[in-house]
């Protein structure tokens, strides 16, 4: 079974994000980067599927600058077999151009299951997976919390407003992993050492044809000046009055 997991290097969720002076990028000072948390679920699911099948290969694919190699090694340390690093130049890239580069790499490769995180926590897109699947001509199920294989078919659970869709799909297929799918394992020391020797292929990413142009990046609008209404349950009537008469929300 050939499984490919697409991962991304993103600022940690505890990072303070400040817009840079150019109003086009974030100020990198003090920002720590991690393997996108949703991608960890995707990597874990791939490893579980391979373990259950008793055979197969898990390939980690990342598109990004030189530092993305480190992110791929993290997934390799969890137990994946090899990595592909699509090296990025300095050009801007929107979701479709990202998808085009990934699809160009995957086209023609043996592939049974393609996994993504539900979204990257930097650009909050949740779009690239559907685009890659469409470009490759394979079916896609997003934001899954359960995946079961049954020969060349799979059943996935996909939470939607007010319920869970049970989706049946024929392989090869793509999925994006939602929190709740599994508990990602920690890389063991042995895994970290082994990851250093695993094959990691580097190649330039295909440029693609971006369509969305970033006009500007702004800090969020300022919140109104906060007000402490009072202390303890005695403050409740004053709060109710403000919510009714000032905010007019209850």
């Amino acid at each position: 079974m050939n499984i490919v997991v697409c991962v991304k290097r993103v600022p940690d969720s505890s990072a303070r994000i400040k817009v840079g002076a150019d109003n086009k990028s974030i100020d990198p000072a003090g920002v720590e980067y991690v393997l996108n948390p949703y991608d960890e679920y995707a990597v874990e699911e791939a490893l579980k599927l391979k373990e259950k099948a008793g055979a197969g290969e898990v390939t980690i694919l990342a598109l990004g600058g030189p530092e993305s190699a480190e992110t791929i090694r993290k997934a390799l340390a969890m137990g994946a077999d090899k990595g592909i690093h699509l090296k990025e130049g300095s050009q801007g890239r929107d979701f479709i151009a990202t998808a085009q580069a990934i699809a160009a790499e995957l086209k023609g490769r043996p592939l049974d299951i393609l996994l993504f995180g539900n979204k990257a926590i930097d650009d909050d897109g949740a779009q690239v997976a559907a685009m890659v699947a469409t470009l490759l001509g394979i079916p896609f199920v997003s934001t899954i919390t359960k995946l079961e294989l049954n020969g060349r078919n799979a059943t996935a659970h996909r939470p939607v407003e007010g319920g869970v869709e049970v989706v049946e799909v024929a392989l090869p297929a793509a999925f994006s992993a939602q929190k709740g799918l599994n508990e990602p394992r920690f890389a063991s020391l042995k895994g970290i050492m082994a990851a250093k020797k695993k094959p990691l292929e580097e190649k330039p990413a295909v440029a693609g044809e971006p369509r969305l142009v970033l006009v500007r990046l702004d800090n969020p609008p300022a919140r109104p000046v906060p007000r402490i209404v009072g202390t303890g349950k005695d403050a409740v009537p004053a709060l109710i009055k403000l919510l009714r008469e000032e905010a007019k929300v209850i």
Binding site: S13, P139, G162, T231, V236, L239, A247, I250
Partner: protein
């Protein structure tokens, strides 16, 4: 001559979603600003009659793909239908619902374009559509323009205003053929397991009452759900609480959970970790109840009460119930 603004309208069990009316109303505004018609497109089974209603929200044309195979969501097939209506469009809009977020990427890839996802503002400047959307879960906002082709955008629920329907308006409904390919039905929804409770979805809720570590334990969660119920809202949770197993994943608010923009967000015993604040700081009014006066949540709250949530919450719920009587 620029093409129409196309809005995909979502239905479940033949009922159109409120968030889609928000998208239609915003579509009307954009279409008027651009001087182009507004087209509503929808898909499902047995909905042709109900679709007449969409004209009341300002659509100049209503197009319906009505077929047994479209009863439940089939992403590639729905995308095929929408993309065929959108080749020359100025914009393709839909709600950033579970369905819309999934559909948009398929539609955009079929059109060879990208998606402005989860937008909170759209406007027309010099004949061009600009889309504003939160990134880093709202720690920053990106403004995007499209360079050729339609602006495909999903709209965050609860942010755009749905206009009141105008019952005097009637528009003929055009039936679309099912011109999807067989391969578009490889991912098929076999069934929908309905939630046991009739919970209000976090991302669609007008009011959210959210609990954190200060709730002390899952046994106190009734205090959260009581207030949420009294306000007609939804219950949320912090990551710490979800990771501790007190509450299910789908209730998590924050950068690795749901990003929400309700009118009123009441944070109860939530300290306000950066990743939580990112997920809810675009709420219109924020109330914080926390016994630690230095908790970061108070920095972004409109109104704060310093105190033990376990004491404040019952008092607050009782007052709200009194108002509702």
């Amino acid at each position: 001559m620029p093409g129409p603004v196309v809005v995909f309208v979502e239905q479940r069990d033949g009922k159109f979603k409120r968030a889609s009316f928000e998208a239609l109303s915003e579509g009307r505004r954009l279409a008027t600003a651009l001087g182009v018609p507004l087209h509503a497109v929808t898909a499902g089974e047995g909905i042709a009659d109900a679709a007449k209603e969409l004209g009341q929200y300002g659509a100049d044309a209503v197009k319906v793909a009505d077929h047994a195979k479209l009863k439940t969501y089939a992403n590639a097939a729905y995308a095929r239908i929408v993309s065929r209506q959108a080749g020359s469009a100025s914009a393709v809009l839909m709600s950033a619902s579970a369905l819309g977020k999934d559909l948009a990427g398929h539609v955009a890839a079929m059109l060879g374009t990208s998606v402005a996802q989860d937008c909170t503002e759209l406007h027309v400047e010099g004949g061009q559509i600009l889309a504003k959307r939160p990134v880093y879960a709202g720690k920053a906002y990106a403004t995007l323009a499209v360079n050729g082709g339609p602006m495909v955008a999903t709209l965050r629920p609860n942010v755009f205003k749905a206009a009141a329907p105008d019952a005097s308006k009637t528009v003929a409904v055009e039936n679309l053929p099912l011109d999807a390919r067989d391969t578009d039905f490889r991912a098929v929804v076999k069934e929908i397991l309905a939630s046991a409770s009739k919970k209000i979805e976090l991302t669609e809720a007008n009011v959210i009452v959210s609990g954190g570590r200060g709730m002390k334990g899952p046994e106190n969660w009734g205090l959260i759900t009581d207030l949420a119920a009294a306000l007609g809202g939804a219950a949320g949770a912090s990551r710490a609480v979800v990771d501790a197993g007190w509450r299910p994943h789908e209730e998590q608010v924050g950068q690795t959970g749901k990003t929400v923009s309700p009118t009123l967000y009441i944070a109860c015993g939530v300290s306000g970790a950066i990743q939580h604040l990112a997920g809810m700081s675009s709420s219109k009014f924020i109330v914080a109840i926390n016994k630690d006066a230095d908790a970061p949540i108070f920095k972004i709250a409109n109104y704060g009460i310093v105190g033990d949530v376990l004491e404040v919450l019952p008092a607050l719920t009782a007052e709200v119930k009194k108002l509702r009587e």
